[in-house]
Amino acid sequence: MIRVIAAAAVVALFADDYLLRFLAEILLFGVAVMSLDILIGFGGLMSLGHAALFGGAAYAAAIVARQWGGDLVLMLGTGMATGLVLAAVMGVVVLRSGQLFLLIMTLLLAQMLWEVAFHWRDVTGGADGLRGLPALSLGPWALSGARALFLVAVPLAVVAFLVARSFIAAPIGRALVGTREEPIRMTALGYSLFAVRFRAMMVAGAMAGAAGALLPFVNQYVGPQSVHWTLSATLVIMLVIGGIGSLWGGFIGSAVYLGIQTYLSAYTDRWQLLVGLVFVLTVLLLPNGVAGGVRRWRS
């Protein structure tokens, strides 16, 4: 932990704006992927609608910021509340059905949110999205610029990781894994599968929501792409590359994906081909993702 903080401090001091913003984006996506890992990796709940929680919170934060300013506490609160509400709705609709329906229903629900974002021009800016966002602030201090964003993203990522780890280690986390491995047994022990999964959904929603709230401040813009199902799929790809069930692998996965996207797209328009290749290779050679590979190499 000390090493992480020290590394972050060094980076914050010496890296340029472009790199800081890029790293902040990796951290925010990493938190979103980690929250998805709770659902997929630990709960066995295959969701293709996570962009609704992540991007929905981004929209909420942007809308609130344009009205009432970018106070950090207000942003995080808005994001988490939005994530919780959307996760609750998704959970109630989706968690009583079987696996295949879960996949399709999360996809559908998320696309419904996309439709709202795309068509409700007055509130969401429609296809043009929202811009003209105020800078982040905390009380009297302005937190504008890439460095400030990075220095906010790092503790967010650290706290999120500790929260996720605590959740997984707690009885509820163990019960969640139990519902994935032996759902019938869990029912036969008196656990309500719905109750367990719903709680996981809420935690994932709040976590993705907190990260999502800061997303508009990376590019000073939020648009319908942030809630499109292709972003949900991207989060899943990041998770697989990073390592399902590893939690911290989410950060690896987002770094790999965003790294390829940012640095390779300068040389070729076919960077997505490379992502696909990395994805396939990961599945074939490193079934537990990069995190799994690291774990194996260490032991």
Binding site: L19, Y221, S265, D269
Partner: protein
């Protein structure tokens, strides 16, 4: 204008330059002028993006790859017509490639998304895209716009209709998205302001596969004239079916120039477009673009449409900016003032910039699609000179 360490580097470079010049009175050794262009090279606007890049490249070739005796380096990035990707590429060009100037975009959504990014980075940007907001609420001290706004085309179309067919009842039809709403909205407001009558207004989703029901409904209205906005493949499909449903030649069809784009639409629809009227800042028969049309034709690409001309013009404006600033266009206050003080001569004609919002003031032509040697050509029949967007006071 630049970040502290960039300013430092420039000072060192200039200091070194001065030293070199003093030490050896050789020819001027200038640091290359790096221009970043963001355009759509994949996705729905791929062909338009290629044209834009082609136009800019032609200008660079003609200039010997030098502006004001400074070598020019052009870096082109693809935004895939998506705002998120456009912003990402802009950040890369600014932060990683460290370009001196930015230019480009086709999609207005990308343009709007870029506004805050380039303003915060204090990056001089020659921003295209045509949403009205770009000249109004989304104007920026770091953005100059050497292209039109939707209002310029919509309102002049209304004026033209009033000129030639006063009292005509006009029905409108458009793709239901931001651009469509602006074009038709501006047309209707202007036309009604002039005392004209607007009939029914039709809206179709982007990418409508079959305009049959729309055309039947339009015919049933028996309008005197129809004003439409469609772009790209929608325009092609609409015009073909306009002919199939025998409305061509019977009802006066007016549109924005994009609907009859010389490169993008006319070659695909042939004589279905014959007689169509459009208002546009670009025309292959406009006198001001004669030289460019000839040069473009010499590359074997036929008559130019909007985006090849726009790419070329953008290059012309940047070249003039470089010349007027003594080879130093990144000294933005000086460069900006130099561009406000006197118009730039471009393939779009004489182009002054409005100091309120950096928006170009343009001649808007009325084109009629005529058959010339068997090909369909947008032919200028009238020009509204020096149209100025109402801007921030709108």
């Amino acid at each position: 204008m630049k970040l502290p360490h960039q300013r430092l580097t420039r000072r060192l470079a200039l200091g070194g330059l001065a030293a070199t010049t003093l030490a050896a009175p050789a020819r001027a050794q200038a640091r290359p002028l790096k221009i970043g262009m963001i355009t759509s090279l994949s996705g729905p606007f791929a062909a338009l993006g290629e044209s834009m890049r082609g136009g800019m490249r032609l200008l660079l070739t003609q200039s010997g790859e030098r502006f004001a005796d400074r070598p020019v380096e052009l870096i082109v990035e693809d935004d895939q017509a998506r705002p998120d990707d456009g912003v990402r590429k802009a950040r890369k060009l600014i932060g990683q490639d460290r370009v001196d100037l930015l230019c480009g975009v086709i999609h207005s959504g990308v343009a709007l998304a870029l506004r805050d990014v380039v303003t915060e980075a204090r990056m001089p940007t020659f921003l295209l895209g045509s949403a009205n907001d770009l000249a109004r609420r989304a104007a920026s001290p770091f953005i100059l716009r050497p292209t039109k706004t939707n209002w310029m085309l919509g309102s002049t179309a209304a004026q033209r209709t009033h000129q030639t067919h006063p009292g005509a009842r006009v029905v409108t039809a458009a793709s239901d998205y931001a651009a469509g709403r602006e074009f038709v909205g501006d047309f209707a407001t202007t036309y009604q302001g002039l005392g004209g009558r607007i009939g029914r207004q039709f809206w179709t989703p982007l990418g409508t596969p079959d305009f049959g029901p729309l055309l039947t409904a339009i015919a049933a209205e028996r309008p005197d004239s129809v004003y439409v906005f469609f772009a790209g493949s929608d325009a092609v499909r609409f015009l073909r079916q306009w002919k199939e449903y025998r409305l061509a030649g019977r009802i006066r069809l007016m549109a924005t120039g994009a609907c009859f784009d010389q490169e993008d639409v006319l070659p695909a629809v042939g004589d279905a477009a014959l007689g169509g009227i459009n208002t546009f800042h670009q025309s292959p028969t406009a006198p001001s673009s004669a030289a460019f049309v000839e040069a473009w034709g010499a590359t074997g690409k036929g008559l130019p449409g909007e985006f090849s001309t726009t790419g070329y013009v953008c290059g012309q404006v940047i070249r003039t900016a470089t010349e007027r600033s003594g080879g130093n266009p990144t000294d933005w206050p000086r460069t900006q003032q130099a561009l406000f003080d006197a118009p730039v001569e471009t393939a779009f004609g004489r182009m002054p910039f409005d100091p309120r919002n950096g928006q170009a003031i343009l001649d808007i032509h009325v084109n009629e699609v005529r058959a010339v040697d068997g090909a369909m050509v947008n032919t200028v029949v009238y020009t509204f000179p020096q149209i100025r967007d109402p801007g921030p006071d709108a």
